[in-house]
Symmetry: C2
Subunit: 202 residues, 2 copies
């Protein structure tokens, strides 16, 4: 009730550094090829040079750690560039940017995101947290498609639903993961998806 008499500058900083180190270790561990050491709270603690109890103190649980990691990925993965996509005047151009932002995001931490997906059905609560992000993508897709309809003029309701689901599917991680091969660089995947989207929606 009473306002905190504390400021806690240095302590907060130090704690945040620890949080960051823990998240970095978790990210690194999830990205390591098929988890030579299996992903676990103890491994994360060991790699970040911190006691296991500290991880629990900071994140509460495995699910908490994974959710925090998810948020940190979104911040660092270039999602802020999404605003640029919506600022485009041409609807097709906006969709192209939209696609590009997501392929870039999936690429930025591909192995980690792939591993995170595995925890989906292991922990239903975490699945919900991941589902929310997917809903954002759907909302964005809907806005862009509305804009496209106004620009070109085609009000079929059923086709709108198809278009929305298609764009969400095309910008999803599994699609990127299936198309990004060693012989096809990320920007080439972007181009491929953009062409496919024009054919699918046009």
């Amino acid at each position: 009730m009473t306002p905190r008499p504390y400021r806690m500058q240095r302590r907060r900083e130090s704690a945040d550094e620890n949080r960051a180190r823990i998240l970095a270790a978790a990210r690194e561990l999830l990205a390591s090829p098929q988890g030579s050491p299996r992903f676990s709270m103890e491994e994360v603690a060991r790699r970040s040079g911190v006691a296991r109890m500290t991880v629990y103190y900071q994140f509460g649980s495995l699910r908490g750690l994974l959710e925090a990691l998810l948020d940190s990925l979104a911040s660092a993965g270039g999602m802020q560039h999404l605003a640029e996509a919506f600022r485009q005047s041409d609807a097709w151009e906006a969709i192209d940017r939209f696609i590009a932002v997501f392929t870039q995001f999936w690429e930025s931490d591909r192995l980690v995101i792939r591993a995170l997906g595995a925890f989906t059905s292991l922990d239903p609560d975490f699945a919900g947290a991941l589902g929310e992000r997917s809903d954002w993508r759907r909302k964005g897709a809907r806005v862009l498609l509305d804009r496209l309809v106004k620009q070109t003029g085609r009000p079929e309701r059923k086709e709108m639903r198809d278009a929305e689901d298609l764009l969400v599917m095309l910008t999803g991680f599994p699609t990127y993961d299936a198309l990004a091969t060693p012989k096809r660089r990320p920007d080439q995947v972007t181009g491929l998806l953009q062409r496919l989207a024009r054919r699918a929606l046009g």
Copy 2:
């Protein structure tokens, strides 16, 4: 070394029945909404009315059980209809059948397949077993696309790689899973994918 003096008719039958019951229980448990009881060897044993040790005796390990389940799904999911697709004289018709067979397969045990995917990065060995099946799909796609090229005549090498990856992606489970909503029946997904494939590859 010496030839088995045993025939073991009834015993084999009885054991096979047990195997089937165990697999059915595993399938049912994986399909149960977000695993109210968590999936485990003990739960599988309990549901199939068998001792936990029996499951180990029959399948060796969790990975063995999952692989056997994967095979049983392929047998029961209509994969034998794949031959019909390759028997089509028209290349486009063959591709349409190819797509239809896979959407039907994914639909047949959607929840189970979705759950199986989660074990992919949990157990790298099992991931390999699942990857082999995906390679079959790729081989089939390649054959059909070769046929399509001979029929329409377009020998671009780079476009061939794109086409192959696209068809594999379109016939994959995540794509189906993203497109099959309560408002879109499985056969409608098939139609949507067939149209999309024609636009993507044509």
